[in-house]
C-alpha cells in the first residue's frame, strides 16, 4: 500500500515538474517577444528622443530645417530660437508641496513660448518635446549646431516672490578661444556673454513690465546649462513651485512667452550671425 502511495506521489511530482518546465518555457517565450520588439525599436525611437526636434510646420527634422535655412541666414541673421524646457525624465527639478513639478510646467510653458516666437517669425528648436532628460551637453549641442540661434532655457524656482520672473546670463568666464581659434566646449559661452546680457536685458525689461516685483535687468549666475552654449543664451526662471494652485503659474505662461518673443524680436537687429555654427560672434 505504501508502495502505491509513493508511486502516486512520484507520478504527481513528475507531472508537476513537467507542468513547471512547460510554464517556464512559455514565460521565456512570452518575455522574449517584447524584448525583441524593444530591441528593434531603438533605431528609430532613440534618435527621436535624444535629437532635437524642430517645430512642426517650419521644417520638420533639424537637418532639413537647418540646411533650408542656411540660404536665408546671410540676409536675415537671427532666425532660430533654441528653447530648452529644463529637467525632465527622472529629474523633476523643483517640486512644490502641492505636487507641482518644474519639469512638467516648463514643458507646458515651452508650448506657449514656441507659439509666440513663431508668430514673430522665428523657427523654434526644442531640446526636448516630452518627458526625456537630455544631458546639459546634449542640450548645448542642439544649440551649438544651429547657425544664427539664440538659446533660452526655462525654469521654475523653489523660492522667490511668487508671480515674478528673472532672467539670468552666465557669470564671467575666463577663456575665449584656444590657439587654433576654436572655442573650448566647457567655456563656449564666454565670447557670447555681452550678447547674452543684451538679449537678457531686453527679455527682463518686458518681463518687468508684465510681472511687478521682477528685476529690471538680467542678473548673472553660474548656470551650468549656459556655460557650454555657443550662442546668446539666457535662463528664464519663474517663481515659484510653492504656489498653492498650479493655475497661478499657468496664468503667467502667456506673459512669459510674450516677453521672450518680444525680447528675441528686439534683439534680432543687434545680433550679427557668425558665419559657421558655433563660431565666434
Amino acid at each position: 500500500m505504501l508502495l502505491r502511495v509513493s508511486n502516486i506521489f512520484r507520478m504527481k511530482f513528475l507531472s508537476l515538474i513537467g507542468l513547471l518546465s512547460v510554464s517556464v518555457l512559455a514565460a521565456v517565450l512570452v518575455s522574449a517577444s517584447p524584448t525583441l520588439s524593444q530591441a528593434q525599436q531603438p533605431s528609430p525611437g532613440v534618435p527621436a528622443a535624444t535629437s532635437p526636434t524642430a517645430s512642426p510646420g517650419l521644417g520638420g527634422a533639424v537637418g532639413t530645417a537647418a540646411s533650408a535655412f542656411g540660404a536665408q541666414t546671410q540676409q536675415s541673421g537671427l532666425n532660430i530660437v533654441v528653447l530648452d524646457p529644463a529637467h525632465g525624465g527622472t529629474d523633476p527639478g523643483a517640486r512644490g508641496t502641492g505636487g507641482i513639478r518644474e519639469s512638467e510646467i516648463v514643458l507646458d510653458f515651452a508650448v506657449q513660448v514656441r507659439r509666440a516666437l513663431e508668430l514673430q517669425g522665428f523657427q523654434v528648436v526644442q531640446t526636448r518635446q516630452g518627458n526625456e532628460n537630455p544631458s546639459f551637453d546634449d542640450r548645448s549641442t542642439t544649440a551649438n549646431a544651429q547657425r544664427g540661434a539664440v538659446f533660452v532655457t526655462l525654469h521654475i524656482s523653489s523660492t522667490g516672490l511668487p508671480g515674478t520672473a528673472r532672467v539670468y546670463v552666465n557669470s564671467d568666464l575666463p577663456a575665449v578661444a584656444n590657439a587654433s581659434g576654436l572655442i573650448p566646449w566647457d567655456r563656449a559661452q564666454a565670447p557670447f556673454l555681452g550678447l547674452s546680457k543684451s538679449f537678457g536685458d531686453l527679455v527682463q525689461g518686458f518681463l518687468a513690465q508684465r510681472f511687478k516685483g521682477s528685476p529690471d535687468t538680467a542678473q548673472s549666475a553660474s548656470v551650468r546649462q549656459l556655460r557650454t552654449t555657443a550662442a546668446p543664451a539666457i535662463a528664464v526662471e519663474v517663481s515659484s513651485v510653492t504656489v498653492e494652485d498650479r493655475a497661478d503659474l499657468d496664468r503667467m505662461a502667456p506673459g512669459v512667452a510674450d516677453a521672450i518673443a518680444r525680447g528675441a524680436a528686439a534683439f534680432r537687429p543687434s545680433y550679427v550671425v557668425p558665419s559657421a555654427p558655433g563660431a565666434l560672434p
Binding site: A94, G160, N170, S171, A175, A177, A190, S220
Partner: protein, 248 residues
C-alpha cells in the same frame, strides 16, 4: 512504517513548526534591533568625525560678518555682525566661520543653507584656492532653483571674503566629489572668486555682466587681444580646478 514511527515523525514536525512559529518573530525583532543599532552607531561615528570645530573661548573675540538672506522671499543677502572668538589660522578660522554660517541665523527663515548640511573638510592651497567639502545634504536639501542655489553659494563666498582674506577662490565639493551642479542649476565644476581684490583671470572681450550683489572688479572692464587670451587659456583641461572661475 509502523503507526508509532509515523506518530513520532508527525509529532516532531509539529513541534518543529511550532518552535519556528514562536522563534521566528523573536529572531526578526533581534535582526531589526541590530540593524537599528548599527545605523545609530554609523550616524554616531559620522557625527564624531564631522564634529564642528569648537570655538575656543580663549581666542580673541572679533567682529565677524555672516551673510544670510535679507528676508524670507527676497533673493538678496545682508551681513549680520556677530562677535566670535575666531582663530588666526585661516583654515581653522574658515571652518569656524562656515560652521557658524551653517548653524544659521536666529530667524530660521533667513537661512541660506540647509539645516542638516555639514562641513566635512576644508583645505587651503598655497595659491589661495580653498576647497570646502560639504555633506550631501547641501545638495539634496537645498531648494532647487537658480535663485536659491546662487544665494547659498553667495552666502558662503561672501562670508569667507569678509572674514578670511587669505581665501581667494573657492571650490565646492559634495561628499568629497566634484559634482556638476549644486541642485540641478548652479555650476560647481569651476571655482568661485571669493576675494574680489585679488588679481583676476584674463578679462572677457565681451562686456562684463553686472553681478547680482557684487560690484565687478575694475580689472575686468579692461580688454585684451584674443591672442593673449588664447595663450593664457589653451592648456587648461576641462573639469579641473581653475577651469572656470565664476563670480557668483
Amino acid at each position: 512504517m509502523t503507526p508509532s514511527w509515523r506518530f513520532w515523525l508527525i509529532g516532531g514536525l509539529v513541534v518543529a513548526v511550532l518552535a519556528a512559529a514562536i522563534y521566528f518573530p523573536i529572531l526578526r525583532r533581534r535582526v531589526k534591533r541590530a540593524a537599528r543599532l548599527q545605523q545609530q552607531s554609523e550616524e554616531q561615528a559620522r557625527r564624531e568625525l564631522t564634529q564642528p570645530i569648537a570655538i575656543n573661548p580663549g581666542e580673541p573675540r572679533v567682529k565677524a560678518k555672516l551673510f544670510w538672506a535679507a528676508d524670507a522671499i527676497d533673493s538678496t543677502l545682508v551681513p549680520v555682525t556677530a562677535e566670535l572668538p575666531l582663530s588666526n589660522d585661516p583654515v581653522l578660522r574658515s571652518k569656524q566661520i562656515l560652521n557658524t554660517l551653517l548653524a544659521g541665523p536666529v530667524d530660521t527663515e533667513l537661512r541660506t543653507l540647509p539645516p542638516d548640511a555639514l562641513l566635512l573638510a576644508f583645505y587651503l592651497l598655497p595659491d589661495g584656492t580653498a576647497i570646502a567639502d560639504f555633506s550631501e545634504a547641501l545638495a539634496t536639501s537645498i531648494p532647487s532653483g537658480i535663485v536659491s542655489e546662487q544665494l547659498a553659494v553667495n552666502s558662503i563666498t561672501r562670508t569667507l571674503e569678509a572674514n578670511v582674506p587669505q581665501v581667494q577662490r573657492l571650490k565646492i565639493l559634495i561628499h568629497g566629489q566634484e559634482v556638476e551642479t549644486l541642485a540641478g542649476h548652479l555650476d560647481l565644476t569651476g571655482t568661485f572668486v571669493v576675494n574680489t581684490n585679488v588679481a583676476q583671470e584674463p578679462p572677457n572681450p565681451a562686456p562684463t555682466p553686472a553681478g547680482t550683489d557684487k560690484p565687478a572688479s575694475p580689472a575686468r572692464a579692461a580688454k585684451a587681444p584674443a591672442s593673449v587670451l588664447a595663450t593664457l587659456t589653451a592648456d587648461k583641461a576641462p573639469g579641473k580646478l581653475g577651469q572656470t572661475e565664476s563670480r557668483p
